[in-house]
Amino acid sequence: MSCSVHDAVRLERRGIPTAVVGTEPFLDEAIEQAAVLGMPQLRIVTVSHPVQLLTAEQVQQLADGAIAEIERRLTSGA
């Protein structure tokens, strides 16, 4: 998660709105990492944990559940 937040901060500074998606237990880490990198307003999108042992269909459902939030993170009007 930490490395992804680093990537997102760099991309945002390059003008690329970025939605980082991670599992819920890493939310605190993401908030702290964004704050120490000077972008405390960066939000990440969380999905339920764990994912490693899900079926293919369950992974798709995770994405279905997250897409609205991803869209909200990337756009202003949605």
């Binding site: 998660m1 930490s2 490395c3 605190d28 880490e29 990492q33 120490v36 405390p40 939000r43 939030e69």
Partner: protein, 484 residues
């Protein structure tokens, strides 16, 4: 689920602005600042307040960035207002000490206040139980609105904990005098680079502070510096090691004349307690990563179980006890140079072997033990394993006339199984794709096995430090230099 961000609002006005916040519901304002250990204690305990009524609002006597840090260190999520000099709100409300809690009723009139930490008082005002650890009451410190600032209630060892200058064990307070002695004339502002994951600058001043905290003597500092330089090499990947869910500790191995000069232990008990340089040099390195680099357990450090290795480990190689060239010479240095080699690894696995009479048998025993590290079926690994051979085991290999390279290859060859036998649980794609009878080794290459010698004269116990998986980390060797 949308994530919440930590929002810090600058407080532009004075007490009237605070009273206006208590429009329709009671507010508990808690005044605090970063230099007050009692404030830190109060904020930590208030994590348990939840969404109780009255609403909790922290009024930090800090600029917004520092206010955010205050909240992050306490792990407290609550609205926070950042108040800067001349601290009008604190002055107007007569806040002379922190922490001070002021209860405002709807409409903004003050009903009650608490000065200093008072667990029963806070529990009564918030209507919720708070954690029972620590003192029931503790005096606070002067608020920033008061001149001159007062440092009341100072208990220095506890202060170090409240400031977060620690790994959970007591530390030596890094006074300017102690840090100057550690620096021994070196430029305090010279930087070794930025330490991931938070990119804190590793100035010599900060590294010296960590060395003091850890309990190092000034003569250990050259070894600490070399170790920090080594972990900041990009190919070590301190970032990944710092934030991973893996146990991932750092081992520092010292070779050359530095061992005797610093009094490092390479003999009996080398991996355990007892030797000040062993324990404090390893700890100092870890504190740089945790405190300056921000890889704080429970924060950016997400290691699921971690291991004692994450507190720090440094040992010396028993070069005189080894028939082979020492680790640093194998890695390209001259024998008379002093060096530290850092390696990311799992906690050591002890391997007892009191029965093998031949080098082949012993190599096989070590191979089977090493094969189970990280995860028993996750073969092959393109990651480094450190094997520490005790003197009696070294003697078995030497009696057979085996070179270090022969030992390495024998261990590699012995850790070999057909692919079909590895297809259980955590197994690699390579194993699933291979033919059933294809031989698969624990490592991709014998060069992944690092060998060194340490330990007491009696007892046949060697140790295997298993690998970190997929971190792209390499052992790094740096010279220890004595010039300032």
């Amino acid at each position: 689920m949308e994530s919440a961000a930590l929002t810090v609002t600058p407080l532009a006005g004075g007490a009237d602005e605070l009273r206006a916040l208590a429009r329709s519901r009671p507010l508990l304002l808690v005044f605090a600042h970063r230099d007050c250990p009692t404030s830190a204690l109060a904020l930590r305990h208030l994590r348990a307040a939840g969404s109780a009524e009255p609403e909790l609002v922290i009024v930090a006597e800090e600029p917004p960035q520092e206010a955010a840090r205050l909240m992050l260190r306490a792990g407290l999520r609550a609205p926070v207002l950042a108040q800067e000099a001349p601290f009008a709100a604190s002055s107007e409300l007569g806040v002379e000490a922190v922490p001070t809690a002021v209860l405002l009723d709807p409409g903004g009139a003050e009903r009650e206040r608490l000065v200093g930490w008072d667990r029963a008082g806070y529990e009564r005002l918030l209507g919720v139980p708070l954690p029972a650890d620590g003192p029931d009451r503790k005096p606070g410190c002067g608020s920033r609105a008061v001149e001159p600032p007062q440092a009341g209630g100072l208990d220095e060892p506890e202060d170090m904990f409240e400031r977060g200058f620690t790994d959970g064990l007591p530390v030596v307070p890094p006074t300017p005098e102690r840090v100057d002695a550690m620096l021994a004339g070196r430029d305090p502002d010279r930087s070794l680079g930025r330490v991931p994951p938070s990119h804190g600058e590793a100035t010599l001043s900060r590294v010296a502070a960590c060395a003091v905290l850890a309990g190092c003597r000034p003569e250990y500092f050259p070894a600490v510096l070399a170790a920090v330089e080594a972990v900041l090499e990009p190919s070590f990947n301190a970032h990944g090691i710092g934030v991973t869910t893996q146990p991932a500790g750092v081992v520092a191995i010292v070779n050359g004349p530095a061992r005797e000069r610093l009094g490092l232990n390479s003999g009996m008990g080398a991996l355990g307690p007892g030797s000040r340089p062993n324990l404090t040099i390893g700890r100092a390195l870890r504190l740089v990563l945790t405190l300056t680099g921000g890889a704080r357990p429970g924060g950016l450090d997400r290691s699921t179980l971690a291991s004692p290795l994450r507190v720090g480990l440094c040992l010396a190689e028993a070069e005189e006890r080894s028939p082979w060239e020492p680790l640093h010479v194998e890695r390209g240095m001259a024998a008379e140079q002093s060096a530290v080699t850092v390696l990311a690894a799992d906690a050591p696995l002890s391997v007892s072997d009191h029965r093998s009479r031949s080098p082949e048998e012993l190599a096989d025993v070590l191979a089977q033990a090493a094969g189970a590290t990280w995860s028993p079926y996750w073969w092959p690994m393109d990651d480094e394993t450190l094997i520490v051979l005790c003197p009696e085991h070294v003697d078995t290999f030497a009696a057979g006339g085996w070179s270090k390279q022969r030992v390495r290859h024998a261990i590699f060859d012995a850790a070999c199984r057909p692919a079909a036998s590895l297809r259980r649980g955590e197994a690699t794609e390579h194993v699933y794709a291979a033919a059933d009878d294809e031989p698969v080794h624990k490592w991709t290459d014998p060069g992944r096995i690092l060998l060194m010698v340490a330990g007491g004269e009696a007892g046949r116990y060697s140790a295997v430090f298993g690998p970190c998986d997929g971190m792209g980390t390499s052992a790094i060797t740096r010279e220890i230099t004595w010039t300032t």
